[in-house]
Amino acid sequence: MTQFIKVNVAEQRVTERPNVIQCSAIGACVAVCLADKELGLIGVSRVMLPNRADPVPVEAPAKYAHTAVSRLLDDMIASGAEKSRVVAKLVGGATLYPEDELNLNSSIGQRNLSAVCTELSKLGIPMISCDIGGDYGRSISINPDTFAITVKTLTRGETVI
C-alpha cells in the first residue's frame, strides 16, 4: 500500500516505490530530491541553511547544505542505490521579501541554492531539473516510479518537473 511520507524543514527521508514523498509549503528552504530510477528509490533532504562554521550536531545533518547532500547520498547508497545512476532535482529557494535582504548580496533562499549546487557538483550528481527561486511558496509530491515531481503553488497553478 502506498504511504505518503511528509518531510518537514531540516528533515531527511529515503523510501522506495510505491511510497510517495511530500513537502508542504517550501519557502526559502531547498528540497534536494535524489532518485535511482531503476530501483524506484527516492530521497529528499529539506535543507534549511547553507553552511555552518562549527561542527553540525549529528542529529541535524539535514539542516545544513554542506552535510545534508552527502548524508542523503550515503543513505540512498545504503538502501541499494548505484551512485552512477543517482540524479537530482531541486525545488525551493524562494525570496518572498526581497526588500528585507537588500543589505546582503543575496537572500537566504539564493544562498541555500548555491550551497546545494556546490555540494551536488562536488559529489558528481547531475541535476536534471529544477523549479527554484521566485517569490512564491511551493508544495511538492514525488512519484517514485518516474521521479516526476508535482509542484503546487497557491497563485501560479501546478507544474510537473
Binding site: 521579501y97 517569490d135 497563485t155
Partner: protein, 206 residues
C-alpha cells in the same frame, strides 16, 4: 547550560512581557477597525527554529504576512499573520473597499496592510519598551501573501542563521463578532536580547 527560558520566574516575566506587547498590539488593531478581538493566552517556549513549522496548523493555507525587524536594546522580528477574511475586513475598515482576491491586492490595499502591521507592532514595542525601559526601534515592514509555511520561511531561516534556538512567543486572536476572521502574532526576540532583558530584571527576580 541553557537558561530555563520558558519556566520559573524568568518564564513568568517573559510571559508577562509577551502579554503586554500582544495585548497592546491588538488594542491598536481594535481601535483602528472599531472591532473587538478575542485573544488567547500567549504561548512562550524555547524551541529549535525548524520546529516553528511543525507547530502551526494549516501550513499550506493562504495567509497575509507582515514582517518587521526590531532593533535597539531588543533585536528580533515581529510577524503578523492574517487569514484572508481578516485581511479583507481590515482593508475595508481602513476605507479601501472590497479587496477581492487577496493574493493579488492593489498597491493601496497593500500599503494599508503594511500600515496595520506598523501600527500594531508600534503599539507592541512602545508598551514593551515603556515597561522594560529598553530602547527599541523598528524597520519598515515587508509583506507577502502565500502559504503559511512559505511566508514564515525567510524570517525564521534568517533567524536560524545566527541562532538555532528561538524564543517563540505566539498569540492567536480572532474577531469577536466573527471568529472565522483570525490571525497569529509572533514576537521573536534574539536570545542575546532576551539575556539582556533578564539581566536588567535580574535584581527583581532574586
Amino acid at each position: 547550560m541553557r537558561r530555563d527560558y520558558d519556566g520559573g520566574t524568568i518564564g513568568d516575566m517573559l510571559r508577562e512581557i509577551g502579554n503586554i506587547g500582544c495585548g497592546n498590539a491588538l488594542n491598536a488593531l481594535s481601535s483602528l477597525t472599531d472591532e473587538s478581538y478575542e485573544i488567547k493566552i500567549p504561548e512562550i517556549e524555547l524551541i529549535d527554529c525548524a520546529e516553528v513549522f511543525t507547530r502551526l496548523d494549516g501550513i499550506e493555507q493562504m495567509y497575509v504576512s507582515i514582517v518587521i525587524n526590531m532593533m535597539g536594546d531588543i533585536n528580533g522580528k515581529y510577524v503578523l499573520l492574517l487569514n484572508p477574511p481578516l485581511a479583507c475586513s481590515l482593508i475595508k475598515a481602513l476605507g479601501l473597499g472590497d479587496a477581492g482576491d487577496i493574493s493579488d491586492i492593489p498597491a493601496e490595499s497593500k500599503s494599508a496592510i503594511l500600515e496595520v502591521g506598523n501600527i500594531s507592532c508600534g503599539s507592541c514595542i512602545t508598551a514593551v519598551s515603556t515597561f522594560t525601559g529598553m530602547d527599541m526601534n523598528v524597520t519598515i515592514p515587508s509583506s507577502a501573501v502565500d502559504m503559511l509555511g512559505s511566508v514564515l520561511s525567510q524570517p525564521i531561516l534568517q533567524f536560524a542563521e545566527s541562532d538555532p534556538d528561538i524564543l517563540y512567543i505566539r498569540c492567536d486572536f480572532s474577531m469577536a463578532s466573527d471568529p472565522a476572521k483570525s490571525g497569529i502574532m509572533l514576537v521573536l526576540p534574539e536570545m542575546a536580547s532576551v539575556d539582556r532583558l533578564i539581566e536588567r530584571f535580574g535584581a527583581f527576580l532574586k
